[in-house]
């Protein structure tokens, strides 16, 4: 379980701060939600989170099963254990939702995010940026004499680390896709 052991007390962003939850540790969970690919389905899911005061750290969505017209929404969310259970139950009872998987508790899974990072610099900083990008196995997808656009795939933490290193080297812009995740094994 991905416990962050944040400060005690429930999330102030949620109506649940009124509630006596059985556990008061804030956890981060990655949920894979299989939904009908129909108009408004993303609004339903997002509306559930905003309407009930749940957090969304990251959200990605795309059609993944054309034959059955299903999309997969990957949501990274935070909350106390009881809030996480409630989020899953609320998602599962939506008519457009076929399945909810909590990848954080259902065994090992892999998470990846893609980012494009623009760095503008000259001289030593430019050389250092390129050298660092090789360590991270980022690829250069665009370049001018004074700029790079790096493409990097990895866990959110890896991308965070790369962005942090690029900041003093001329970082000007970051585009991130959000997390896509899938269970390991069969």
């Amino acid at each position: 379980m991905n416990s962050l052991n944040l400060e005690k007390g429930s999330s102030k962003k949620s109506a649940y701060n009124l509630r006596n939850t059985t556990g008061d540790t804030i956890e981060t969970h990655t949920l894979a939600v299989l939904v009908d690919n129909e108009a408004g389905v993303l609004a339903r899911v997002i509306g559930l989170f905003s309407g009930r005061g749940y957090n969304i750290e990251s959200l990605t969505v795309a059609e993944t099963n054309h034959a059955d017209n299903l999309s997969r929404i990957t949501i990274v969310t935070t909350g106390t254990p009881s809030v996480i259970v409630q989020i899953k139950a609320q998602l599962a009872r939506m008519v457009a939702v076929h399945d909810v998987h909590d990848l954080t508790v259902e065994g090992p899974s892999v998470e990846r995010e893609l980012a494009m990072i623009k760095v503008v610099s000259k001289g030593d900083n430019r050389v250092e940026a390129l050298r660092t990008s090789e360590i991270f196995r980022a690829s250069v997808v665009d370049t001018t004499l004074e700029s790079f656009v790096f493409e990097l795939t990895g866990t959110p933490e890896k991308i965070d680390a790369f962005v942090e290193l690029m900041t003093p080297l001329g970082l000007v812009d970051v585009a991130r896709t959000g997390v896509a995740a899938i269970a390991r094994g069969l």
Binding site: L18, G40, V95
Partner: protein
């Protein structure tokens, strides 16, 4: 069109070509709908044209779209069938939002059909255009915008399935005007794909057995029942009675559950919660086994959560997984339909030859009877002024033997008094706005109930302020000769607001009086109804009888004590054993922490 045939396997002989508007009527007929509550407008004219040319479906013309939704709720709640609403686009749809939210909170099956501007005008800010599916997404169980006539009938069939299965609720189908005009192929009810939405109705047998084991050992058990028992159907109420008989456990009920166990039954403790009885609330606080059957630990029931039923094992039977462990952690969760689960529970109970801990149960009843002897609903009567409690006691005495009595209410003090002083022997006889607390619910709800039960005695117990909120529906009563009785406990106040201001806002009565009230007797006459006013307790019985004997709609203006408070009351932020009683001092009843809660 070929694609359509291939996908659905529908033969030409089974499916007919018709316009979208005709499909709406055909689909409603196929779903067994006999009544639609609605109001026409530009974007639904094709459907109204079809309504005009048939006689199978009775259309009740309301006076406001909110009225249509509450009337449909009254119809649904009193029959167990879904209520159907037909309104136009834009303001028609937005006016229906309150009723849909009300139905969502109280799990009432309802199908709302809205007109929409033609598909080619959507997004252009056309006249009477609103993003209806966007606006109603959070206040429906599901909704659809139908862009193709070929999909219309199937969508309506799906709407009925979703509204009535699992935890019931409102659904909305938004139908653009060009879709109503265009022709397409009708999908019969049997051919409609109801997709993956098939909620689990059978409870897990091992969990049920676990509950039976707890019931065998329990020393101080209580059944905490709710609207889920009523939504599950009449069989669930019957099974609850059987179970109570088999175990001799006490029964309490939420506002939504009144009638699932008879008020005259010997195990009845009365309603629980903020304005529940002393014995019901203390039973909840003191029990060692709390069995929640189709209720949802609402904040009006639990009081402050930290002190809620502190020494009990808790079981929860509910059809909605998200209701379980939402507010209160339970030891035995059972996901399923109440009737299915109770049936299995009784089977397990009998097959095990289960017996309760009868010595302990007997002791528990001694305790419960002591609490009952506190007579928490007693009040100080008056010879000169009608006390609201007295008015309801007399109404109860004079109507309880009517074989077909239905009560609706508005929202406020009168609603709580009605729940306390009126007794319900059967389910589907009590229609009130519980979760949302919608003032203005009662008049249109009484319209819907009376339409569904033309021979029933329908009484809307109201307060003066709430009653005015949808009083336009008196016109509907007169037009369709619906003899519903409007029993207004008139205290010229927003009584519950006034009570809270007295208790926690230093008796500063900000905007909580009803100034410039209409003359209700003249108002009745203006609507073509009968008006009766009564202010003397001596005259009350005769006046009520006059109301009951009149064959037509009546507005009864019952002038009552203006400053009566509704007790018992669990103040905000307090526990079940910290009730205020009618004879107690109310000063400082709610502390600062409680005052921020609603």
């Amino acid at each position: 069109m070929g694609f359509f045939y291939a996908q659905y396997g529908v033969s030409k002989t089974m499916s007919k070509t018709m316009t979208g508007a005709q499909m709406v009527i055909q689909a409603l007929k196929d779903q067994g709908v006999d009544t639609v509550f609605g109001y026409p407008g530009g974007a639904v004219l094709p459907i109204y044209d079809e309504i005009h040319q048939q006689s199978d479906i009775n259309h009740i013309l309301v006076r406001h779209e909110q009225g249509a939704t509450h009337a449909a709720e009254g119809y649904a709640r009193s029959t167990g069938k879904p209520g159907v609403v037909l309104v136009t686009s834009g303001p028609g749809a937005t006016n229906a939002v309150t009723g849909m939210t009300d139905a969502l909170m109280d799990s009432i099956p309802m199908i709302v059909l809205t007109g929409q501007v033609p598909t080619f005008m959507i997004g252009s800010d056309a006249f009477q255009e609103a993003d209806t599916v966007g606006i109603t997404r959070p206040c429906t169980k599901h909704n659809w915008l139908v862009r193709e006539t070929n999909k219309l009938s199937e969508t309506i069939h799906q709407a009925f399935h979703i509204a009535t299965s699992g935890r019931p609720g409102p659904v909305l189908v938004d139908i653009p005007k060009d879709v109503q005009f265009a022709t397409g192929i009708y999908t019969p009810k049997e051919k409609a794909r109801i997709k993956h939405y098939q909620p689990q109705v059978k409870g897990d047998l091992s969990a049920i057995t676990e509950l039976v084991e707890l019931m065998e050992k329990a020393e101080r058990p209580v059944f905490y029942t709710g609207g889920g028992v009523i939504n599950s159907g009449k069989k669930a109420s019957k099974l609850l009675r059987d179970l109570t008989k088999a175990t001799d456990f006490p029964v309490t009920s939420t506002l939504m559950g009144l009638g699932c166990y008879p008020a005259s039954g010997k195990n009845w403790l009365g309603m629980l919660g903020m304005h529940g009885t002393y014995e019901a609330n203390l039973a909840m606080h003191g029990c060692d086994l709390l069995i929640n059957i189709g209720a949802r630990f609402d904040d009006r029931i639990t009081g402050v959560l930290e002190k809620f039923s502190p020494n009990s094992k808790k079981a929860h039977i509910d059809i909605d997984a998200s209701s379980i462990n939402k507010v209160i952690h339970v030891d035995v969760p059972i996901l399923g339909d109440i009737a299915h689960v109770l049936e299995d529970l009784l089977k397990v109970w009998k097959s095990r030859g289960s017996k309760t801990n009868s010595a302990a149960i007997k002791k528990w009843w001694t305790q419960l009877d002591e609490w009952r002897a506190r007579k928490c609903l007693s009040y100080k009567n008056s010879d000169t002024i009608i006390k609201p409690q007295y008015a309801l006691e007399r109404l109860e005495a004079l109507t309880k033997d009517h074989p077909n009595r239905f009560i609706t209410t508005e929202v406020g003090q009168h609603q709580m008094w009605a729940a306390q002083y009126l007794g319900f022997e059967d389910p589907n006889r009590w229609m009130t706005s519980g979760g949302l607390g919608t003032m203005g619910y009662g008049v249109p709800a009484s319209v819907g109930v009376q339409v569904a039960h033309p021979d029933g005695l329908v009484i809307n117990v109201a307060g003066d302020a709430s009653w005015l909120m949808n009083m336009q529906e008196m016109g509907t009563c007169t037009q369709y000769n619906l003899p519903a009785k409007q029993f207004i406990l008139n205290n010229e106040r927003l009584g519950m607001v006034r009570q809270w201001q007295q208790l926690l806002h230093g008796e500063r009565y900000s905007c909580s009086w009803s100034d410039s009230l209409p003359d209700f007797v003249k108002l009745a006459e203006a609507f073509g109804a009968k008006g009766i006013q009564c202010s003397d307790p001596q005259d009350l019985d005769e006046a009520i009888m006059e109301m009951l004997n009149y064959n037509g709609p009546v507005i009864f203006d019952c002038l009552v004590e203006k400053h009566e408070n509704c007790f018992p009351m669990i103040p905000s932020g307090k526990a079940h054993n910290e009730m205020l009683m009618g004879d107690a001092s109310v000063e400082g009843a709610i502390d600062a922490e409680g005052a921020v809660m609603v």
